[in-house]
């Protein structure tokens, strides 16, 4: 295989990997502060993409330049999904805080189902795939067999900026300090005067905003979105977070990249591309059996 093809696989894998990482960071954040898994994460992602599409359709008559439209779409969909995430947390997750973890898991799973079904049933013609606008430049640079699309580079760039920004918020700001404190020890954090509820809500908003970003960038990359896209992306993002070790942001990023790498290997290895997911999930299940708390497990995340 020549180097150009390899580079092509690398770029494609990288685009998917950063998308997965964005989703996985959300999972890891929620788990950090509240020890819960928000299974509706993938569907929030999908809702973010559909929100972006709706805003685009609304802005279309104004015929703004694509870059401004894109900025508006991104900001609006990130903000609105942040709001949805905070609402979900306030009304469905926090009230079940003392219930068995299974209940939280089920309630978010069902909330995700509600989002998915609502989009399918109530979005005009929602059960069919929707074309997503081409807002990124589509020209490509040809380097031998490597066809470097500008939009892939931009999407990777968006994701990297978002991850760096999240990292900055968590490690350098007062809010981030509160998030880390709550993740380490809720009771002590409360004693130190941290507003627990507010911190948790902010974390949920942050994670859901990241999901919206990855939803929109998935739409931009494939130029198509559908109501079921969140299901697979959610499970993959969760696998990535678990693979890296829940509660660790770096683990989530690494996990996302590993999952994309597994899929790429699967696609090259088996000539039938559909086997790539079977392969990737099978490897994840095996890795989990080998290291149940993930590859980069946060030592403090193990609380028995």
């Amino acid at each position: 295989m020549d180097i150009g093809f390899l580079g092509q696989y690398l770029i494609n894998g990288l685009v998917q990997g950063v998308t997965y990482s964005l989703v996985a960071v959300g999972f890891t954040l929620f788990f950090g502060v509240l020890d819960v898994i928000k299974f509706s994460h993938g569907d929030v992602l999908m809702l973010g993409a559909f929100t972006g599409l709706t805003i685009y359709l609304g802005l279309d008559p104004l015929s703004l330049p694509p870059s401004i439209t894109l900025c508006i779409i991104l900001i609006a969909s990130i903000l609105s999904m942040g709001f949805v995430g905070a609402l979900l947390c306030k009304f469905l997750v926090l009230p079940l805080k003392s219930a068995p973890p299974l209940n939280t898991l089920l309630i978010t799973l069902m909330f995700g189902t509600v989002i998915r079904e609502s989009v399918r049933l109530f979005f005009p013609n929602g059960s069919n795939p929707k074309p997503f606008p081409e807002l990124l430049p589509t020209n490509a640079i040809n380097l031998g067999n490597l066809n470097l699309r500008v939009d892939s580079v931009l999407i990777i760039l968006f994701a990297v900026v978002a991850i760096v920004l999240t990292n900055f918020i968590i490690n350098k700001t007062r809010t981030g300090l509160a998030i880390r404190a709550v993740a380490q020890d809720e009771e002590t954090a409360r004693l130190m005067g941290i507003d627990f509820k507010k911190t948790v809500l902010i974390t949920f908003a942050l994670g859901s905003g990241l999901a919206a970003l990855s939803g929109v960038s998935t739409g931009l990359y494939y130029q198509e979105i559908n109501f079921g896209m969140g299901l697979m992306l959610g499970v993959i993002g969760f696998s990535a977070a678990v693979l890296g070790g829940l509660g660790s942001v770096y683990g989530a990023i690494v996990g996302g990249l590993i999952f994309a790498a597994l899929q790429t290997i699967g696609a090259i290895w088996f000539s039938v591309p559909a086997y790539k997911d079977v392969f990737a999930f099978a490897v994840v299940i095996m890795l989990m059996a080998w290291r149940p708390t993930g590859l980069l497990a946060d030592r403090t995340s193990e609380r028995v």
Partner: protein, 385 residues
């Protein structure tokens, strides 16, 4: 003395009769307004029964005579099949309810007793169905009844691949593993040409001891739709699985599982082998799902990957939750509601997943123990005098 026995047991007979009448009407009626009327009447009857102390009496009578109760309910189920024997669609629905209830028994053992999460129930059901499809085609001379059991065994065996990862992980992690397995199973079926790919496989009807299930019910026995045979077999399967579930629940097996669910650390320190009980619950549950799937495959005549979605697994979990986690009895009416209502209300059909998701959210939020919570385990038999 007959009269005194009758005085004690009339509430059971009444219950059986009520179950028969309501299920018959639900299955038989076709107009939507009739069903809606029925849906309005049933809760009203239940409410008044509670108000006038009839339901308390019923509970007492049921507790006092468990064998008699089972006989009454078996009779009303048989009566239901007999009265509906010429209606294809009603029988198909009834058989589906019975098969879904069978899977839900397995889920009750997994979720309700051992506290194991399994979001891949439909995958194990599918494994059973595909086993039937494959084994039924090849001329290996295996009797069909045995294939049903083999379907269960194959499901349990494939499930045992997941045991190690499920045991080593907890809660959310285990949930991920089962969800990933369910997705993996479906994608695998879709790309596998030997198993028919997206089109699936055709399955021929059952033939047990020369009794061809594809023909209409033997005229000597009263005649009727060919679904009668399948419904009877599904009933037998459910009875077997239900009895097993109840036996597990009331025995030391269930006691051990309960303690594993409630506190793993404490159970382990009392010498209970946590892994063993989890393995047992997982395997038995998948076995039930597999058998149910095998029977379903031969009844519907074909299997295809499209019938084994994550949303079906979620529907099954909502059956268990709706009935009350860990209550093997209430799972049956819950399965009935979840399967039959959307079929009867074509309006709902499209919205059923949305509807059930909302109902489950409301239940979890406001009444987490389900509509009929599992009764407390009684270690001393108080009803015997």
């Amino acid at each position: 003395m007959v009269p005194s026995i009758f005085r004690e047991r009339w509430p059971v007979v009444l219950l059986g009769l009520a179950a028969y009448v309501s299920t018959f009407l639900f299955l038989h009626l076709e107009q939507e307004w009739e069903i809606a009327l029925l849906l309005g009447i049933v809760p009203l009857v239940l409410y008044f029964a509670k108000k006038f102390g009839i339901s308390a009496k019923c509970r007492q009578a049921v507790d006092a005579a468990p064998v008699f109760t089972r006989a009454v309910f078996l009779l009303s189920a048989l009566a239901l099949i007999v009265t509906l024997r010429h209606e294809h669609f009603a029988l198909l629905l009834l058989a589906t309810v019975l098969l879904y209830a069978t899977i839900s028994m397995g889920l009750t053992i997994q979720f309700g007793y051992a506290g194991l999460v399994n979001f891949a129930a439909i995958a194990f059901f599918g494994i059973g169905a595909y086993s039937m499809a494959v084994l039924n085609q090849s001329p290996n001379g295996l009797p069909d009844l045995m294939i049903i059991v083999i379907g269960g065994v194959v499901a349990a065996l494939i499930g045992s691949l997941l045991i190690l990862p499920v045991l080593r992980t907890k809660g959310h992690y285990a949930a991920l593993i089962t969800i990933a397995f369910g997705l993996l199973f479906r994608s695998f079926l879709e790309v596998n040409d030997i198993l028919g790919g997206p089109q699936g496989l055709k399955v021929s009807g059952l033939n047990i001891l020369g009794w061809d299930f594809a023909q209409s019910f033997p005229a000597i026995l009263g005649g009727g739709s060919f679904y009668v045979s399948y419904t009877l077999l599904a009933l037998v399967l459910l009875i077997g699985v239900f009895s097993m579930t109840r036996l597990i629940e009331s025995s030391w097996l269930g006691l051990n599982m309960d303690s594993v669910r409630l506190d793993e650390t404490a159970s382990a320190s009392f010498g209970i082998n946590v892994a063993r009980w989890k393995i047992m619950a997982f395997t038995v549950g998948n076995f039930f799902a597999g058998m149910s799937g095998a029977l379903y495959a031969s009844m519907s005549g074909f299997v295809a990957p499209a019938s084994f979605n994550l949303s079906d697994s979620l529907l099954l979990v909502s059956i268990v939750l709706l009935g009350g986690m860990g209550n093997a009895v209430s799972v049956i009416p819950a399965a009935f509601l979840v399967v039959v209502l959307p079929e009867k209300f074509q309006v709902i059909q499209e919205y059923r997943l949305l509807l059930f998701a909302v109902i489950v959210i409301l239940i979890l939020r406001f009444k987490p123990s389900g509509l009929m919570p599992r009764p407390l385990r009684r270690l001393i038999n108080t009803s015997s005098k």
